[in-house]
């Protein structure tokens, strides 16, 4: 077994699942001849054919809406939104239709489908190729929202999403695609949706995060351990909805200090829900106020390198400093 990067893990998993089950089809912009703008489906058109690898018109609402129809008639569609920033025209189809189908039919119909969307910034994507969209969707009953941070989790969560009887929004952080490598267990590797993972054990404070921020936090935690002998535990949420409250609370109760880190702009982001959960359930286990570290409340990321850097890393070692402050606060 050799290390693979995150985008390859997604590609390999999609390939294996499509080869195993002909109910699966891929549809989206540029997924066919181009193989996807991130090459996730490179070679799929030749192997699986036009009926299963569908280059759609440039119409996000139809990509999701047509996928819903397919799901209602015995297929398992995997809809790709080329960039998460472009998903907004499909909001109604995702929220009013896919996520509500089971509830509004009293359990008769479901929408077994996956919506994949590359999200997040730090790759010079500017205002419309950098967005974090998870908070809009994690608020919606009937929809599952996941964001893996490692190749193994990408493979395992994608496989579970494909087999889930309900719609799953599968968010892939673009900066992770080729920057993050790791081992992917061979064979039918699955990870449960709704389960967080403790990716670094620690005793002094808990950092709850997800997506690419997991890697930034791991880096800061290593350095702070070496420099100051501060032991940071890191919880990778992995699944925004449903949220694994127990794993988060268990960690916070152990360390008595909690910090939530997310790339999305801070206000009304996923960090608010996580912080509120900790405040409601573990307030008296805490030795310090909960800290949120989110992006500034500006529209996504500006383009110029200096401005983008301000968004992702607003001051030198800001995570390092925030962790140290909380550990000693």
């Amino acid at each position: 077994m050799s290390p693979t990067n995150l985008v390859t893990a997604i590609r390999d998993t999609l390939h294996a699942e499509m080869a195993a089950d002909d109910r699966l089809v891929l549809l989206g912009e540029d997924v066919g001849a181009r193989g996807g703008v991130f090459k996730v489906s490179e070679g799929f058109l030749e192997e699986f054919g036009e009926a299963r690898v569908i280059d759609t018109p440039l119409a996000e609402s139809a990509i999701v809406g047509v996928a819903i129809g397919m799901a209602l008639h015995g297929m398992i569609p995997i809809a790709e939104i080329e960039f998460a920033d472009f998903i907004h025209p499909a909001f109604d189809q995702i929220v009013s239709e896919a996520a509500r189908m089971r509830y509004r039919t009293n359990g008769d119909w479901g929408c077994p489908m996956v919506i994949r969307a590359p999200c997040g910034g730090g790759i010079h994507g500017a205002l419309y190729h950098s967005q974090s969209i998870e908070a809009f969707y994690a608020h919606v009953p009937g929809l599952k929202v996941v964001m893996p941070s490692t190749p193994a989790d990408a493979a395992g969560l994608l496989r579970t999403a494909i087999r889930d009887p309900d719609p799953v929004l599968f968010l892939e952080h673009k900066k992770s695609y080729r920057a993050i490598t790791g081992e992917v267990p061979a064979g039918d590797h699955v990870e449960p949706i709704g389960a967080a993972a403790v990716v670094r054990q620690g005793t002094d404070l808990s950092v709850i995060t997800y997506g690419y921020e997991v890697h930034r936090c791991l880096d800061a935690a290593e350095r702070i351990a070496a420099d100051h002998q501060v032991s940071v535990e890191i919880v990778d949420v992995r699944s925004l909805a449903p949220l694994d409250r127990e794993t988060i609370l268990t960690s916070v109760r152990k360390t008595s200090r909690a910090m939530v880190v997310y790339e999305d702009n801070r206000t009304y982001g996923a960090g608010a829900e996580i912080a509120a959960t900790i405040a409601e359930e573990a307030l008296f286990d805490l030795d310090a106020p909960i800290v949120r570290v989110g992006g500034p409340d500006i529209p996504a990321m500006p383009y110029a390198a200096s401005l983008e850097h301000f968004y992702t890393e607003p001051s030198p070692d800001h995570l390092y400093r925030a962790m140290l402050d909380l550990a000693h606060g």
């Binding site: 139809a62 015995g74 569609p77 479901g110």
Partner: protein, 338 residues
């Protein structure tokens, strides 16, 4: 009226007297349920109902050309006539009107007339307009992918044709030559907004050329003409020749819903004028003229159907309400073992 009025002798359409009588009964039943539903609303027993009167010709005409054993129905909220043809019973309809636990569409979760039945392959829809059109297209894609000899019927009003989802759906369907038939029930008003404030074209069907599919106009009060166009479209779809846009020129005799006051946007004279072209009266006359029916039989049928409606109302009203404890269920699939 721009519609081409076509007398469609039923023999050339291959319709037997039994077929005609069934269509006639569906039209009468739709009208009787409609009138009874509005009475239930005025009695305070149904907070919200959606009238259909005036649309029976285009709904029953188009729906009767589909195969209820194979085809899939994607109606919108005014399609009482379509779902009767699909097989919903008066009792099932009133279970929805009274939002009872056994309402087949949603168990009382959605407003009435938000049809759905897994048993009958009637696809659930929501209240935002035209969102169901891409679903119809996706179902048609799945039908062809799975090698089914079947089509999808997709119904909507002319207001829906302003929505992006409508455009995106038709475009997608035409690109892939999918077995789906788009039926526009153009009743000139989207609630209160007249067609000339909705679009700059006279005929919705003229938009079909922009998608690369045939578009036809038909007199929505002529049930046999509607049947004929749907039958032709179904044959094209089954033959792999792709979708058709059928525009039925029709008119709604009653307000948009029980909460609407149509006197604020159209005159009584205009409404009365359209009632002279009642699709049920026209079809009754046709059947009498062709010796399929006599006037005594019409009255007897009406009485028989009225009794069915009354019985359905009584039974549905007495049926159990949804248990509040179930309100949290079915957000996600439930573990069969749970």
């Amino acid at each position: 009226m721009s519609a081409q009025v076509t007398e469609a002798p039923h023999e050339t359409l291959g319709l037997t007297p039994e077929d005609l009588l069934r269509m006639h009964r569906h039209m009468l039943m739709a009208r009787l349920i409609d009138e009874a539903s509005l009475r239930q609303n005025r009695m305070g027993r149904a907070p919200f109902v959606v009238p259909v009167s005036g649309h029976e010709g285009c709904q029953i005409g188009t729906a009767s050309a589909l195969d209820p054993d194979t085809d899939v129905w994607v109606p919108y909220y005014r399609d009482l006539g379509v779902v009767l043809v699909a097989g919903l019973t008066p009792l099932e309809i009133f279970l929805g009107v009274f939002s009872k636990a056994d309402d087949p569409a949603s168990g009382g979760r959605q407003m009435p007339s938000h049809w759905g039945s897994k048993r009958l392959r009637i696809i659930s829809h929501s209240s935002p307009i035209a969102t169901q059109v891409p679903h119809a297209v996706g179902i048609a894609y799945a039908m062809r992918y799975r090698g089914e000899d079947a089509v999808v019927g997709s119904w909507f009003g002319e207001g829906a044709t302003s929505e992006g989802d409508w455009h995106e759906g038709l475009n997608f369907a035409a690109i892939h030559a999918l077995p789906v038939i788009f039926v526009c029930e153009n009743n000139e008003y989207a609630i209160s907004v007249r067609q000339d404030k909705q679009m700059a074209v006279r005929d919705v069907s003229s938009r079909a050329v922009g998608y690369g599919m045939p578009g036809v106009v038909v007199d929505g009060s002529d049930v046999l003409a509607c049947y004929r166009e749907m039958r032709t479209a179904r044959r094209r779809a089954i033959a792999g020749e792709g979708p058709t846009l059928i525009e039925c020129k029709t008119y709604r005799y009653l307000p948009h819903t029980s909460d609407d006051d149509d006197k604020s946007y159209r005159s009584r004279e205009e409404v009365d004028q359209h009632k002279h072209d009642d699709p049920i009266d026209r079809f009754t006359t046709y059947l009498v003229d062709h010796g399929v029916l006599d006037h005594e039989h019409v009255q007897a049928t009406r009485d028989e159907l009225k009794a069915q409606v009354d019985e359905a109302i009584t039974t549905a009203w007495a049926a159990p309400d949804p248990d509040p404890a179930t309100a949290l269920r079915h957000v996600f699939a439930e573990d069969p073992g749970a």
